[in-house]
């Protein structure tokens, strides 16, 4: 069965961040995610958008899975993101995009899509109450 899915295209400009944060908040409410878990996913998406370079807009999709929430961000033209996420482990004390994502989501991945652009996938589990 196809998971429930909410998708939107948003400008990357920081002033539009409240829009996706509100959408994510609605999804989190639906999933009974805790406040901190919601904050974590919002932060992950914000950091990825901040690294998205010069492209004007991006697609975001939130998929509600039995085990939690999957967020797809892309396609992104900025290959430095893929390199940052797939590169070597951060050194102790080093604060990288990879370390941030490792902290705030349960898992993440990078897919190559059309024209060599990338799609970043973030997974956040819903903890049983």
């Amino acid at each position: 069965m196809r998971p429930d899915r909410i998708a939107l295209e948003t400008p990357i400009e920081r002033g539009w961040e409240p829009v996706f944060r509100l959408v994510l908040g609605g999804v989190a409410d639906r999933l009974d995610l805790g406040f901190e878990d919601l904050d974590d996913i919002q932060l992950a998406v914000e950091r990825l958008l901040a690294e998205a370079g010069t492209q004007e807009s991006v697609n975001l999709a939130f998929e509600i899975l039995p085990e939690g929430l999957r967020t797809r961000i892309g396609p992104l033209r900025e290959h430095a993101i893929a390199e940052a996420l797939q590169g070597p482990e951060p050194r102790p004390g080093e604060l990288t995009l990879r370390r941030i994502l490792e902290t705030v989501v349960d898992s993440f991945g990078v897919e190559i899509v059309d024209d060599g652009q990338i799609m970043v996938i973030l997974n956040k589990r819903v903890r049983k109450r």
Binding site: P18, G26, A28, D29, F35, A50, E83, A84, L95, T96
Partner: protein, 252 residues
């Protein structure tokens, strides 16, 4: 019959100030802080209900108290309370003036936002986990939509400026992290920096660095960090967000 022990009167503020300023006794400074925190709380209450949590105002006021203790001139015949009061009030006023609501937010949402911090903390203790949006809404007798809007309204409120000094802010702080970032990055260095925020991390005030270290190095939750440094979970969230944004901005 045992003779009565002579009671030892507590040290005066002046004695403690001497121990701190002349002898470098930081324990004396801490005693002074603890002794005068009720003054800070009392002054902070005057500024409550303006869209920011009382505890956050108290924290700003405490910075004013610390500055007053540090700057106190032992040659002046004025009580610490008298000297500290305008410092505390000034710090709070400066905070509201410089770091107020960045956009027009309806008063109802400001008030809801101000209540949320304490509510989240209470519910976190009660449930022993982070509360959901629905639980926060139920506690505040409002809707999840209103809670989400109030959270978003909170992001329109910039709290502690990361351009301010290590003490947390103030016109008199000389330290400006923006100035300690090198300006001669070549393209190679910029590419390297994209993967690492480390150079900008070094430029952050100590407290922000410590919060980022606790969150991303030690893996502490926002709630655990909030408990350790004595601010609210929402404040921790805002500081993390602002720190990362500021660091990223410095590298572009």
């Amino acid at each position: 019959m045992t003779p009565a022990q002579p009671t030892r009167s507590p040290e005066s503020d002046r004695d403690l100030l001497k121990r701190y300023h002349i002898g470098g006794d930081t324990g004396a400074r801490e005693q002074l802080v603890q002794r005068h925190l009720p003054l800070v709380r009392s002054l902070a209450r005057r500024y409550a209900g303006r869209g920011e949590a009382l505890e956050d105002i108290e924290q700003v006021g405490a910075i004013g108290l610390l500055k007053a203790i540090d700057r106190y001139d032992l040659e002046r015949e004025v009580s610490l309370t008298t000297y500290a009061t305008p410092n505390v009030v000034g710090e709070i006023k400066r905070h509201f003036r410089d770091k107020g609501w960045a956009i027009r937010v309806p008063r109802g949402l400001q008030e809801l936002n101000a209540k949320m911090s304490g509510t989240i903390e209470r519910l976190t203790i009660k449930f022993e986990r982070s509360p959901t949006i629905a639980e926060i809404a139920a506690e505040l007798d409002t809707t999840p939509e209103q809670v989400l809007e109030a959270m978003e309204a909170g992001s329109a409120y910039s709290t502690v400026s990361l351009s301010s000094g290590p003490g947390g802010g103030g016109d008199d702080d000389d330290f400006d992290p923006m100035e300690s970032i090198g300006s001669e990055d070549d393209e190679y260095e910029r590419t390297e920096q994209r993967a690492s925020l480390e150079p900008a991390l070094e430029a952050l005030p100590e407290r922000e660095r410590e919060i980022l270290r606790m969150r991303f190095e030690d893996g502490l939750t926002q709630t655990q960090i909030a408990e350790k440094i004595g601010i609210s979970q929402m404040h921790v969230s805002r500081l993390i967000r602002k720190s990362l944004s500021r660091m990223r901005d410095q590298l572009t």
